[in-house]
């Protein structure tokens, strides 16, 4: 069994030496690939790519100098990961996607391996160790980038959901004291809460007497949705306004019947226009054509 002699270089030392000897070549290759990946979409300028490449090599050298084994809690390792976190965030902000970044990180790893391959003095054993070391470092970096990408996507989805919530429940005063609330999509508990809060505040501020709740845009109804609708109608009534439910399509009516939902205490009309007529009737408003 071959024993490691004290003179034998460690994995880190081999990598550091390779970096030192070929720093010009490595940085040139990295910069060129960086320009290929990020330059064509103007994600980064040439100067930025060069700066990032040099900073990466510096941080990697510092990490290799820090000890024979990669200390995941060490300041050097944290600095390298932070560098890639900032780098990927910048790429994302400028409209780049994760594929490009992962491709770049893989390329960095490949540069070292290709360089290693060219050096015949490195034993198979050492090559394997270096490969594992690079695998550990770059896998962590890719995972970090992936988490950042996911967080960014989640934030975007949340912002879009919030915007959709706000825009999908426009409460409009269509006549003095008459509000319309078109409901589009489905009504879950959190959306009901938001809609009800907005509706009750509008009833108070506009001194509304009638609210037309139009469900033409509700694609499906289940017991939960109908329960939320009844809750909304009841809260409207408590405020002293009358709710009129309009736009109940045949499929919705059939679903309500099969769910045994009793809407007998609720004023319903087939269309929004019919609902408006009912509101006028309740408010003793007569609308007529001029001259008639």
């Amino acid at each position: 069994m071959a024993k490691e002699t004290p003179q034998e270089k460690s994995t880190n030392q081999i990598l550091i030496e390779q970096l030192m000897q070929n720093v010009g070549k490595i940085s040139a290759i990295i910069e060129k690939e960086g320009q290929n990946i990020f330059g064509h979409k103007n994600l980064l300028s040439n100067n930025e790519i060069n700066d990032y490449s040099l900073e990466f090599l510096e941080l990697l050298t510092m990490l290799l100098h820090a000890g024979d084994k990669v200390d995941r809690r060490g300041a050097e390792y944290k600095a390298l990961r932070q560098f890639f976190t900032n780098f990927s965030q910048q790429i994302q902000v400028r409209g780049g996607d994760m594929d490009e970044f992962v491709r770049y990180v893989h390329f960095l790893q490949r540069v070292f391996l290709e360089n290693l391959e060219a050096d015949k003095s490195v034993s198979f054993e050492k090559t394997r160790e270096i490969l594992m070391l690079l695998g550990v470092i770059f896998n962590d970096i890719i995972l970090d980038v992936f988490h950042i990408y996911l967080e960014g996507k989640e934030k975007t989805i949340q912002a879009q959901q919030e915007e959709l919530r706000l825009t999908s429940t426009p409460i409009t005063e269509i006549w003095d004291g008459v509000l319309t609330l078109p409901i589009i999509g489905s009504l879950d508990s959190s959306r009901t809460m938001i809609v009800m809060e907005k509706l009750l505040q509008r009833i108070e501020s506009d001194r509304a007497r009638v609210v037309l709740i139009d469900v033409t845009g509700v694609m499906a109804i289940d017991s939960q949705v109908s329960h939320h609708l009844i809750q909304m109608i009841r809260a409207t009534g408590l405020m002293g306004a009358t709710a009129i439910l309009t736009g109940i399509r045949p499929e919705i009516a059939r679903a309500l019947t099969s769910l045994n939902i009793d809407l007998s205490s609720v004023t319903t009309r087939s269309k929004l226009s019919e609902g408006l007529k009912e509101a006028f009737r309740q408010l003793h408003i007569e609308v007529s054509r001029p001259g008639k």
């Binding site: 009800m196 809060e197 009750l200 505040q201 009833i203 108070e204 001194r207 509304a208 007497r209 809750q231 909304m232 009841r234 809260a235 009534g237 408590l238 405020m239 002293g240 306004a241 205490s265």
Partner: protein
């Protein structure tokens, strides 16, 4: 008059009830008698309960309102609540499983 209850005849057979500090809705029995006496003395036809300063209507407060309404009915007086606050209406609607036995109006100017 019972503590925390302020009654004012506002004309046309209407009496305005404004609940204030000190009202204890947990003992409706002690509160309804003096209210009813005032209504009958003033020959009221409608009791207008102002909820403007009531931030939350919980089960205890709602029980007081329904008890007062039931008593008014016996005396042939209609009870109407006005100015229910949005937050109170929202919270109450979550607990109710049937319509309120009393009428709710937007405010005193919108009494039917």
């Amino acid at each position: 008059m019972a503590e925390g209850i302020h009654l004012t005849p506002i004309g046309d057979g209407n009496v305005l009830l404004e609940p204030g500090e000190g009202l204890d809705p947990s003992d409706p029995g002690a509160l309804v008698a003096p209210v009813l006496e005032f209504l009958q003395t003033n020959e009221a036809r409608r009791l207008v309960y102002d909820l403007k300063n009531v931030r939350l209507i919980d089960e205890v407060y709602y029980a007081w309102l329904t008890k007062l309404n039931a008593t008014c009915r016996i005396a042939n007086v209609e009870m109407v609540t006005v100015n229910m606050q949005p937050a109170a209406a929202y919270a109450l609607s979550l607990t109710l499983d049937k319509p309120t036995p009393f009428t709710c109006a937007l405010d005193i100017h919108h009494l039917r």
